[in-house]
């Protein structure tokens, strides 16, 4: 077995030092009826050739995004990740290290986290950011729980533009803890609909921009209304590339800003691992969930970094912790940070402009297809369209032609009754030929 260094002679020698007759003796505390006398009913070990063959065969049954025209978004976006990113994150010192609990021999990871926190805070226009959460959806749930701790109120108002899976994750966790979730009806362009639901019991209002239908909205007025009622504003972003071009959550009055960071550095990965970005105003820092990296000095007065404010965390505070999170998304945070370092503010702006340009081309082309109506009034790189008939059937039919035409709303949110609505995203990886193929195929279907 290639991963096990001990040989039979080693094992005999070690048992002798221990004073045990056999390895079975070391499992003497296991109650007899629970001991397995032989391996379970699964295949025995295999070499690299066999393992690679089996996994490659499974991979070949899938249709990767890069294999042809591709327009899926809805919370996960295909972007070009520079080769440098994957090269660096595979370095042993990053890939095979643990949480930096011993700062003297983890300054690499810690400095990366400090830079990551600074990049995230700047990107979201907030004062402080943590060292990452699992993904955008769990970050959204954590933001709502944090708002409850700060305001000591029990109600959260979720906009109808919030990604339905984010709403579901938030409702699952927050209702278990006794919160009331008021989710507004799904609508392409109705973030302001949350205003009517804000009352004196409201802990927070959660809005998303660009929202799940692609609509970008200035939420400043919502922030003002929330604050007037003593509630916090949580702003969610599932496509961080948009922030190269758009007003930041902080600029619009967000108290907590969360985002899915997958677009930078991470890749699609069939939904995970991703990286949750979490930022807030400085005065709330002691209510934040997750790890924080901070600056300090060593015994010789040199600058260094450590994990800090850990009295918020489960390993110190146990049942009084701000969250139960332990493992976060460190390596994806590194990937995000490397990609952001390569882009810089200048590059992210350009990337955002290219994305928006492609999406404008896509929207114009779709708008010209008979029977198709573009629903999203203001967008970054994603639009919702109405098609004649069920969007899910259309997507399956186009997949048969090698075109992944987007995400039907019926898959994300069946009760919304938007079965004829389809979400399509364009990024820098989308070509004019991709759009031509989509439009041609779509025209054939909608005409028929």
């Amino acid at each position: 077995m290639r991963y096990l260094p001990l040989n039979a002679a080693d094992r005999r020698h070690m048992l002798g030092v221990i004073g045990a007759a056999s390895a079975d003796d070391l499992f003497a505390d296991v109650p007899t009826p629970a001991r397995l006398s032989a391996p379970v009913d699964l295949p025995y070990h295999a070499g690299e050739i066999e393992v690679e063959r089996e996994l490659s065969a499974l991979a070949a049954l899938n249709r990767p995004a890069g294999a042809g025209p591709f327009f899926c978004g809805a919370g996960a976006y295909r972007h070009q990740v520079p080769a440098t990113v994957d090269h660096i994150i595979q370095r042993s010192e990053f890939l095979t290290s643990y949480t930096p609990y011993q700062p003297e021999i983890a300054q690499g990871t810690l400095q990366v986290l400090f830079e990551f926190q600074t990049q995230v805070a700047a990107l979201l226009g907030m004062e402080v950011a943590n060292a990452s959460l699992y993904d955008g959806s769990t970050a959204c749930a954590e933001a709502v729980m944090m708002a409850r701790r700060i305001t000591r109120r029990r109600k959260a108002v979720l906009s109808g533009g919030l990604h339905p899976h984010y709403a579901a994750v938030t409702a699952t966790i927050a209702t278990a803890e006794g919160m009331e979730i008021a989710r507004r009806p799904a609508a392409v362009d109705a973030e302001a609909d949350v205003l009517a639901a804000i009352d004196s019991e409201t802990a927070c209002v959660v809005v998303q921009t660009p929202n799940v239908f692609g609509t970008v909205t200035d939420v400043t007025a919502i922030a003002e209304a929330a604050h007037a009622a003593g509630a916090l504003l949580v702003v969610v972003t599932t496509e961080v590339v948009a922030l190269g071009l758009l007003k930041t959550p902080g600029e619009m009055g967000a108290d907590i800003a969360v985002a899915e960071g997958q677009s930078l550095g991470v890749g699609l990965n069939f939904g995970g691992p991703y990286v949750g970005l979490f930022a807030c105003r400085e005065k709330f820092v002691r209510q934040m969930p997750g790890r924080l990296c901070g600056e300090t000095v060593d015994a010789e007065g040199r600058r260094g970094f450590v994990l800090t404010l850990s009295t918020r965390e489960q390993h110190i505070r146990r049942e009084k912790a701000t969250s139960n999170i332990c493992t976060n998304s460190g390596l994806c945070a590194l990937a995000f940070s490397i990609h952001m370092t390569l882009l810089g503010g200048t590059g992210l702006r350009r990337l955002a402009e290219v994305n928006h340009g492609r999406a404008r081309t896509l929207a114009q082309a779709l708008g010209a297809v008979p029977g198709v109506e573009v629903l999203t009034p203001r967008f970054f790189n994603e639009v919702a369209i109405r098609v004649p008939g069920p969007a899910a059937a259309l997507v399956e039919a186009l997949a048969g032609e090698g075109i992944l035409a987007g995400v039907p709303v019926s898959r994300l949110d069946p009760p919304a009754g938007l079965d004829d609505v389809l979400l399509l995203a364009a990024t820098e990886t989308t070509t004019a030929a991709d759009i031509d193929s989509l439009v041609a195929a779509l025209s054939r279907r909608t005409r028929g």
Partner: protein, 527 residues
């Protein structure tokens, strides 16, 4: 000045001896000093070449940001150098033994990295039509089959993103099951004092009150105390097995019998499943729910603190309440059950936006195939053998917390043997850094004073174990003979000396901010 109840110091001592020889530039041979990316004179560069944006106006409704985003951009060579220089300041399992108890720092096979990067897995959209992702769903189904077979449990929820997220999933399933049976009075979760901090934190996070269970002198759950506390208000017990003292709970069958007799569920923290995989099935122990850290038992890389993956196996009683989504196979092929209606009407909800940590699923499945049923069993045996070998070699000098009987995959020592030396557990651990090893887990579990929890894993050769033991015995001799400086001012040879955690917490500086635009802020100064 302390962070926890067992007196872990958080400040370096003031009279630190000098560092000795200094270079003129501040460089240290191969170890390069590296400034923050924000401390460069020009911020406007970029290391990515992109096409010209299409001409024309925008459809952003006037929401274009007024101020450009201010973040530095580095060319590719500068970027590579920045991160390579930083990487050289990290310890890693690829460099040397990394004996963090409870964390399971084992070798990460590179084949698994290669396979996770196949475009058929890595470049796959989570919401692509199911006809386009049949191989991914098949892999999830195969992984589920292996996890169910290895644990002897009938169901598994794959979506939780890490161990603590799995605990949350398990407790939400338990809560839903009690609600379905009208058991709404059950407000308590019992957990031993030795539990991982995530157990009480998770219970509280979903609104349960936490009550602690006592421990016997031999480091196991106190059955009498458990029986007395198992009232009809208890929703669940959360017990780690093997426990955080590195011991198998001998009375595990009685623990589960008592728990079920009281109408409660048995949540097992599976962080230490690597010690028993292939030898013991939690399903045979009466467990109702258990998370499996794929990043521990099945060796997906820890990556400096994540990502992890925490699938939860469930008993028949809890299976109907599993969260969406899950994979089913009908005549035509695989599909996903994604909504809490019809066939998922009892599902308690959703843990995450998509289907879980697919990248980790691929790696863990490759690890399982490589090891096979025989290799996984051997890996558990070797992990336990290695820990007992360390325990045997060190016990003559260091005090084992529970000297009688074998340990499982980790050996626990306390600080009784350091009494009177003036050396603390923290000092001893920091001195290990100078010897080239990562310290063991310190001051955990909380039930042992000055705890030192050593988990070598099955990845270590006999020679490496001996090198480690020799180094620790050498240090122990130095501590007992009064060589204080070696410890109280350690580490001496790391990239940095001991760091001031108190200062970091008192004056939190969590992001880089210029004192004025373009000017670096003054460094923090110790008082």
């Amino acid at each position: 000045m302390s962070l926890n109840s067992v007196g872990r110091p958080t400040r370096p001592v003031s009279d630190t001896p000098g560092a000795g020889f200094a270079s003129l530039s501040g460089g240290r041979g191969l170890l390069q000093d590296e400034a923050l990316i924000f401390e460069r004179s020009s911020w406007t560069g970029t290391g990515v070449d992109l096409p010209e944006p299409e001409a024309g106006s925008e459809d952003l409704g006037g929401l274009v940001r007024a101020e450009p985003l201010r973040l530095p951009g580095l060319s590719e060579p500068e970027t590579v150098r920045h991160y390579v220089r930083l990487s050289q300041k990290n310890h890693a399992i690829d460099l040397a033994l990394y004996p963090l108890g409870s964390c399971t720092m084992k070798h990460n096979p590179r084949l698994n990295e290669k396979l996770a990067r196949l475009p058929g897995f890595a470049d796959l959209h989570p919401l692509a039509p199911v006809s386009a992702v049949q191989g991914a769903l098949a892999l999830m189904d195969l992984l589920a089959h292996w996890l169910k077979t290895l644990t002897g449990m009938p169901a598994v929820a794959l979506s939780p993103k890490a161990g603590a997220h799995g605990e949350l999933c398990g407790l939400l399933a338990i809560r839903a099951a009690h609600a379905a049976h009208g058991q709404t009075r059950r407000r308590l979760v019992l957990t031993p004092t030795s539990a991982h901090g995530t157990n009480p934190a998770t219970a509280a996070f979903v609104g349960y009150e936490v009550m602690e269970i006592g421990q016997t002198a031999d480091g196991r759950v106190d059955l009498e105390d458990l029986a007395a506390k198992l009232t009809d208000e208890v929703a669940a017990i959360m017990v780690t097995n093997p426990n955080t003292c590195g011991l198998f709970e001998r009375d595990i069958l009685e623990i589960s019998r008592l728990t079920h007799a009281a109408g409660a569920y048995f949540y097992c923290d599976g962080a230490n499943f690597n010690a028993i995989v292939g030898r013991v099935r939690p399903g045979d122990l009466g467990v109702d729910a258990m998370h499996i850290n794929l990043h521990k038992t099945f060796s997906t890389p820890h990556g400096g603190g994540g990502p992890g993956s925490g699938p939860v196996v469930l008993s028949e009683a809890l299976a109907p309440f599993a969260p969406t989504p899950w994979v089913v196979h009908d005549g035509e092929g695989f599909r996903l059950v994604e909504e809490t209606e019809a066939e998922a009407s009892q599902a308690f909800g959703r843990m995450t936006a998509f289907h879980g940590q697919m990248g980790m699923f691929v790696r863990a499945y490759a690890y399982m195939l490589s090891h096979g049923a025989d290799g996984l069993r051997q890996a558990a045996e070797d992990a336990v053998l290695n820990a007992n070998y360390i325990k045997a070699r060190l016990s003559g000098v260091m005090s084992a917390a529970f000297p009688d009987g074998p340990c499982m995959h980790e050996a626990l020592f306390d600080d009784r043997w350091l009494e009177g030396t003036g050396v603390t557990t923290l000092d001893f651990a920091k001195a290990m850094i100078d010897e080239g090893f990562h310290p063991m887990t310190m001051y955990f579990p909380l039930v042992v004073h000055g705890a030192m929890l050593i988990e070598p894993t099955e990845s270590e050769s006999l020679a490496e174990l001996d090198r480690f033991c020799d180094a620790l015995l050498g240090l122990a001799g130095a501590a007992l003979s009064g060589d204080m400086d070696r410890f109280t001012s350690a580490p001496h040879l790391a990239p940095l000396r001991r760091l001031d955690e108190t200062l970091a917490a008192r004056k939190p500086r969590l992001t880089w901010r210029p004192a004025e635009p373009g000017v670096a802020p003054a460094p923090l100064a110790a008082e």
